[in-house]
Subunit: 276 residues, 2 copies
């Protein structure tokens, strides 16, 4: 990556997005926390930052819907890379306290959902907060509250980890996208391409005809997701992720064929899968 870039991420400091952004930026890059994913897209569109890292999908809870909606609405922002990190949750409380003294479990809604069975067994009520870092700050003030989040919170907020690896599914991972405005990428040999489409009507077989083209070109689809088009109940956009780069011959052919069959067609990017 280039030097001295400004890179936006979903803050505040101490969140899993913070952990993710630290894995891919250079030391000379300046990282900038944002209160919402929408704000990140707005500033990237306005050239106020050079790059952004946003969560798009968790293996337990599914897609981050606001990320999909922003990818739909911001036409100049492209995906240039993807990577995933393991998400391990911990229960943290104030030093000197015990679990029996805890009256409420606080966190962002995603960790709360990813630890649903664990929380159910604790038999304590939950409180949804804007971020894990907000929840940790709250726990520093309220001695009967606990927070679910990553280990970074222990140091940053001077809290005690009383239970580790508490997510219901042990292989819990989150996929992040690296975004850039008006970006073009070259095939690397381990790429994916993401598109959004909408269909002309709801006739039987409408979506079937689209999938037929991918099958004909032997393209593997790694994810299909429907989201409301917001035009009313029963009208959907389809997010389709496939293996390959749009400059690969078979991907190039299939995209041309699909574009002719659908109402709305948009390429979100062809991007390398990187290991962190």
């Amino acid at each position: 990556m280039n030097k001295n870039k400004q890179v936006g991420y979903l803050g505040p400091e101490g969140t899993f997005s913070h952990e993710a952004v630290l894995k891919v930026v250079d030391e000379t890059d300046e990282i900038k926390p944002y209160p919402t994913i929408l704000n990140i897209f707005e500033d990237l569109e306005d050239n106020k930052i050079d790059m952004a890292i946003v969560p798009v999908e968790n293996s337990t809870e599914g897609s981050v819907l606001i990320t999909l909606d922003c990818l739909t609405n911001f036409n100049n922002i492209k995906i240039i890379q993807e990577f995933q990190i393991p998400i391990k949750h911990n229960l943290l409380i104030q030093h000197g306290k015990t679990i029996d003294e805890i009256k409420v479990i606080c966190s962002h809604q995603q960790p709360l959902a990813q630890c649903r069975e664990y929380i159910y067994k604790l038999k304590k009520p939950v409180q949804s907060m804007p971020s894990t870092a907000n929840a940790a700050r709250y726990v520093t003030e309220i001695e009967t509250a606990a927070v679910i989040g990553n280990k970074m919170l222990a140091d940053k907020y001077d809290l005690k980890i009383i239970d580790e690896n508490i997510q219901d599914y042990k292989n819990n991972v989150t996929r992040f996208l690296v975004l850039k405005k008006d970006a073009k990428t070259k095939p690397t040999g381990h790429d994916k391409t993401s598109i959004i489409i909408s269909l002309y009507d709801d006739k039987p077989g409408g979506f079937y005809k689209v999938l037929y083209e991918f099958k004909e070109e032997n393209v593997n689809l790694t994810h299909i997701e429907s989201r409301p088009s917001k035009e009313g109940m029963g009208k959907y956009l389809f997010f389709i992720d496939m293996e390959g780069h749009k400059l690969d011959e078979n991907i190039s052919r299939v995209l041309m064929k699909v574009e002719k069959k659908v109402k709305m067609f948009k390429i979100l990017g062809s991007y390398e899968t990187i290991n962190c």
Copy 2:
């Protein structure tokens, strides 16, 4: 509907789910608010209630994920009816206050998401709450807070409506399901059937082969949604809604054919679409 049934819904009183449940129960039915959708499924499974009404999909924000997850996990609970209601949001504050004095907008995350553009123009921070009713109660205590929710909140919490119909998309509707344990339904002529499937592997064309069967039997799919199977990234369940009843000839045939091609197959119910 029969008399003196106990019907569970997502409470507390004053939510859109409360509005929905009032549209379909008889006067003699006893309605019971629950703190979470998971609790509703648990009590229905344990025969503590006879029926339940849960939200499953909003035309702006998409599926209610916890409802899909519970439909996956509770094997004896079937969908027996569906209906939809328009969701009109309002901004409410304490009597005697003005919008300029408001410092924070409170609501459940779904209304906050459905009024994203409206809130963006207000330039005020938001606070996510467990329900619109919780948020309204908070506003009765905090004079600089406003709540987004339905009109019922004005009477119930003695608040003033200062803006109406504020959702970003005017045709905003939510689809609700009526659930019953071990229920069997008969075709009414305006039915839908919902199934969950998972595929054996991620070979190109795996999902295509499933859709082929629906196309061959001329069955219209009204919704396809993927959710993580929680077995790791890239493993999905597909929720498929189709027009018709499982006792209809073509639906019966297509379900048999699909069941043979997939790894996991579960019928969530064949159910009438009712108008409220």
